[in-house]
């Protein structure tokens, strides 16, 4: 139960996470309970299989892409001990992108300068859902692959190809047939990213 799990989380850790992510103390302990309940192997880290065990996530067409976002490339020792595992700090860091924006007032002294849940960082999170090889560009191929994930077998290759072409034409301003992050941001400038990419965490 919840009370047992929180005893494994030290106060210093909670303070650090608070500074880095902006979550409140009680939110952090509640999310730690959740992390702990997902961690079937009880080794303090989540693997991809742990995420896959959530049925509603397993049936999400972009489920794999979302899970992937928790496992950044290269091993930053603070967040992952191994490439295929994410610890609680890494877990919180990813979730922090989805904090609503108005809660920002408390965190003026973040080392990274811009809070994780800023509009730009939220857009970047979404951008990386499409950018499969993490080269900061969405190519036609990558867009096709992600589209295929979303529609399954219900749309033919030609139709999907047209959709991809049209989408790139809409967004591409420098003619390199790829969508860069700034082009991505420009296309979506009128979308209410703050609301659509935020989750209402209870206090």
């Amino acid at each position: 139960m919840g009370s047992r799990a929180s005893s494994l989380l030290r106060e210093e850790d909670i303070e650090e996470i608070k500074k880095e992510t902006g979550f409140s103390h009680s939110q952090i302990t509640r999310l730690y309970s959740r992390f702990h309940s997902l961690d079937k192997g009880e080794n303090g880290a989540l693997s991809r299989e742990d995420f896959q065990r959530i049925p509603e996530l397993a049936i999400n067409p972009l489920g794999d892409r979302i899970i992937n976002a928790f496992f950044p490339e290269g091993t930053n020792k603070k967040y992952t001990a191994r490439e295929d595992q994410v610890n609680f700090r890494g877990f919180m860091r990813t979730l922090a992108h989805f904090r609503p924006v108005e809660d920002n007032e408390k965190n003026k002294d973040l080392t990274s300068g811009e809070p994780l849940n800023s509009r730009t960082n939220k857009l970047h999170f979404a951008f990386q859902l499409y950018d499969l090889d993490r080269d900061d560009k969405i190519s036609r191929d990558e867009l096709l692959q992600v589209l295929r994930m979303m529609v399954g077998v219900n749309i033919s290759d030609e139709q999907l190809g047209s959709i991809a072409d049209r989408t790139i034409q809409e967004a591409d301003t420098n003619g390199d047939m790829c969508i860069s992050f700034s082009e991505f941001t420009k296309v979506l400038e009128k979308v209410d990213v703050e609301q659509k990419m935020s989750i209402r965490f209870l206090h």
Partner: protein, 424 residues
């Protein structure tokens, strides 16, 4: 030292006769001396007082959130169409193309992260979180005291069942009484307080009783108020011994594990049983596994294909007094029973719902869902269509395909003109 032992022995005898006189005998005759009710009242007062004390002591911790929210987040419950529609309203749409926009991914992303933080299914397979803890996991002293008392009572119950009641089960008319009596003793052993509602709807012979499943104790709870034929697998070990003892006093329908796989054989045996109107109603738990009593999960359609009258029963445990849920993935039967013995009490409500039969034009799945909704509604439980089997198995691919299909229809739903492929 000798003197002390003698005194202890005398005390033990006195205590034993008190136990037998005040608990066993009334239990056998179905008479309540009202002790259990008083016990429960005292318990409630104690727990309330203890909770207040703790709340005063721990202000920062917020381990006991005063608001009812046990959830971590507040979700939007819009459908895929609504949410994506909203996303697209602010995006300048190219009418020549299909209805795809880069921000569509936001919807799936947000849903995915919400489900990582809190989902509807995995929480059903662990014990319900209480707003206030009930002293069970912390106090060690009372733990031991209660455990000794209850273990002895339970032990006596087993003794009486095997050595006194079993030989009595020769005659038919007595076997009913025996049946109910042994379960009553079990219930007393567990300090169970059960309230039965709408007894007029109690399952009749030749029918099928279906109930939501939380723990093996469900059987004790229901059998306290009627005789049922059980369907189940033959177990080895402790369960097997218990099973065989029950069989003597009541006809049951036991299957070997291999037979369970053959659905037609199972269905045939059950059909034969209910066709015989003198046979006891069959008790079935269509969820197929223990759920934590906050929801009712998918009912397997097998029992609803057999025909006959279904008598739905809703069982709801009061979580304040003890957690009856058996997490079979985590605890084995023995440690579970021990935990049950040592919880404060088991308080539950049983509602007998009016009988239902399959209507014309309704298939087994729809009928199963109808019964499930009735049970969920009565018990105040969440009605889920997720399969309880997800406790151990992966979710079916077909559900993902449904999501993909829904989304595809949004993309090509509006008039999609394949001819115009040229630049916009």
């Amino acid at each position: 030292m000798e003197g002390a032992w003698e005194i202890a022995f005398v005390f033990f005898q006195v205590w034993l006769s008190i136990v037998v006189g005040l608990i066993m005998l009334p239990a056998m005759f179905g008479v309540s001396l009202g002790f259990t009710d008083i016990y429960i009242k005292v318990l409630v007062k104690t727990l309330e007082w203890a909770t207040l004390r703790i709340q005063r002591g721990q202000k920062e911790q917020a381990a006991l959130p005063s608001q009812s929210a046990n959830g971590i987040i507040e979700k939007d419950d819009g459908s895929m169409q609504e949410e994506i529609g909203e996303l697209r309203r602010s995006h300048p749409k190219n009418l020549a193309g299909g209805d795809f926009t880069l921000c569509d991914a936001f919807y799936f992303c947000k849903k995915g992260i919400e489900n990582i933080v809190e989902d509807q299914v995995t929480q059903r397979f662990t014990s319900e979180e209480l707003a206030s803890w009930n002293l069970l996991t912390r106090t060690n002293n009372n733990f031991c005291y209660i455990s000794l008392r209850l273990t002895i009572i339970w032990g006596l119950g087993v003794f009486i069942r095997y050595c006194i009641l079993l030989p009595l089960s020769v005659k038919n008319w007595l076997s009913d009484l025996v049946h109910i009596t042994c379960y009553r003793i079990c219930a007393r052993g567990l300090s169970a307080t059960i309230r039965y509602h709408n007894k007029e709807n109690r399952p009749k012979k030749g029918g099928i009783c279906v109930a939501n499943h939380t723990s093996p104790i469900d059987i004790v709870i229901l059998a306290n108020d009627g005789c049922y034929a059980m369907v189940g697998q033959v177990h080895g070990g402790l369960m097997g011994v218990l099973q065989r003892s029950i069989v003597r006093s009541c006809p049951h329908v036991w299957f070997e594990r291999s037979e369970m796989k053959d659905r037609h054989a199972v269905a045939k045996r059950l059909k034969d049983h209910i066709a015989d109107k003198t046979k006891l109603p069959i008790l079935i738990f269509p969820e197929g596994t223990c759920i934590n009593n906050t929801s009712v999960m998918m009912f397997k359609k097998g029992s609803f294909e057999i025909g006959g009258t279904i008598y739905p029963v809703a069982i709801k445990y009061d979580p304040q007094f003890g957690d009856a849920f058996w997490n079979s993935a985590k605890y084995n039967m023995v440690s579970y029973l021990l935990r049950m013995m040592t919880s404060w009490a088991i308080v539950c409500n049983v509602w007998y719902l009016p009988p239902m039969t399959r209507q014309d034009g309704e298939d087994a799945v729809q009928f199963a869902n109808r019964v499930k909704s009735a049970i969920a509604h009565q018990g105040g439980l969440v009605d889920l269509s997720w399969d309880g089997g997800l406790k151990r198995e992966k979710v079916k691919e077909s559900l993902k395909e449904e999501q993909q299909k829904m989304y595809s229809s949004m993309i090509i739903g509006s008039d999609f003109n394949e001819a115009s492929v040229g630049p916009a």
